[in-house]
Symmetry: C2
Subunit: 347 residues, 2 copies
Amino acid sequence: MSQDLVIAVDAMGGDHAPDVVVKGLALAAVRHPQVHFHLYGDEARVGPLLNEHPALAPACTLTHTAEAVSSEDKPSQAVRNGRKSSLWLAIDAVKQGQAAGVVSAGNTGAFMAMAKLILRTLPGIDRPAIATVLPTLRGESVVLDLGANAECNANNLVDFAIMGEVFARTVLALERPTVGLMNIGSEAGKGTDAERDAAARLSDSTLPISFHGFVEGDDLAKGTVDVVVTDGFTGNVMLKTLEGTARLYTQFLRQAYSSSLLAKLGYLMSRPALEKVKARTDPRRYNGAMLLGLTGVAVKSHGGTDALGFANAVCVAIDLVSQGFNETIKGEFGKVEMPLAAPAAAP
Amino acid sequence: MSQDLVIAVDAMGGDHAPDVVVKGLALAAVRHPQVHFHLYGDEARVGPLLNEHPALAPACTLTHTAEAVSSEDKPSQAVRNGRKSSLWLAIDAVKQGQAAGVVSAGNTGAFMAMAKLILRTLPGIDRPAIATVLPTLRGESVVLDLGANAECNANNLVDFAIMGEVFARTVLALERPTVGLMNIGSEAGKGTDAERDAAARLSDSTLPISFHGFVEGDDLAKGTVDVVVTDGFTGNVMLKTLEGTARLYTQFLRQAYSSSLLAKLGYLMSRPALEKVKARTDPRRYNGAMLLGLTGVAVKSHGGTDALGFANAVCVAIDLVSQGFNETIKGEFGKVEMPLAAPAAAP
């Protein structure tokens, strides 16, 4: 096999699979012509789609499976019964060394359960974290954990900080990314034990991390730091609140613009400028949640996304592989002193 | 003393005190001409301001104190050294029965520490919660806890649910308010023990609560439920994320509108319609975080608010008193069965 980068793809995951998957791959292939894609899914449905994309087809191999995890399946069910599903096979391809990363738009719980089971965490990491890049006033920040771990101890938070910092350095190409720990106030005594302990360890100057200190919920959008670290419960609520607020504003604006003829005309005149805002905050540009900390790259696309969104998720996976994220993480955790692995209270 | 409603006011708390305080009271007095205000603060500064508001002055009494809690004071310092401060005296007035509620725009930590110490919680309630009303796609929802308690057990969450429901019924005048518990998924197994236990108890049909079940971060803006319950850490991050996202959108829009002559013209034409959106999401309309669960009404205004915002906080306090919130709470917790007070794991 050539040394080209290979990405395994769950062709049957997501609301509009396999159509959106194949179309998304076609877009990603334009940006990354050297990448190979190993697709797993129903030959009868995926085959014809590949034929419609002659520029993409040579970069793809397709392994047939009639089974797929459905969106209603519980993670435990999927793990027990889905060993021949497109999702399982795609993740397993990474385990077997046939692909460097896997992308799916399918059942999130199943994706995470299978990925953790098959791929396992890298040495020194206890729990993987879901991370994503979000737009801010200053540009972009990476945020984790967004839901993999409902409860975290100080060790987990420190691991997430290291992983987030490595991501910002390797993939976002920031020289000295700043890291902030989400809390409910900037004063030292605030928050829970886990936050305080993690902050104390991160402030330790032997770590190669530019630790800013505590940040609050509004610091995310401000772009106060490049990496925002929090436990999975808080992160998930934070992310969904952000999405909900964005939708609220979009809805209010839509109502305002359609409320009178004058407003409609005003909208038409402002439209080119407003389209730029829309592009800057377009969720499809940020589609692709990364499960960081596993022995292989695993990226989860929103289930309902379109081809452009799926292509973005694929490109996120490609970037993680090509920028050597996992190799750098292994190096960082190899260097890290024992005190970081000090026992902490169980979550 | 007459049976009129009396509100104690910390005249020296906040970035623009006492000016904004007095101007805000003047606005509130227009809406509530029967309310009396007991102000605490520096006579030399507050007196002349009252003279400038002859319609307000007769409704006010002013007790002089030269001391005030500063915005830098740690809560423990303030409690130890601030027994003659305007903030302490105002809260103590409620304890002494001289006022039914207290409003301050000052140091939040000091406000909460003093209020909890002086006023104590109502029978059956272990911890008070900070609550506020927020705009949603459907109208308004009340959200708590927004930061009083970094960690909560199931008992606390159930208490918050009851308090939130009573608020929605008595002050928001909703007949059968729905209550949702913030979580990271709607499935029963999600989240932490505290969430799962609280949900189990709230689902118990002997409680007079219309429990919807779990909600996620984006349900807040959607207005899926009338009352959103969460622990203080999550709530605080949620609220600040919401505020930060709103500011991000406002900033992006401002940049878009000033980016070209055409966009500027478009903005002018849409402005009347956009002003309606601005009004609907104006933070001053929602200014006034309520500390629910204490033996007296206590409302905290944002420190940097203007007269309109402060007036809103005052009106929130007046509504809580006039709608009999605390009396209704006492009744609800009196009715509630012992199982609700079952010992839960310490947070």
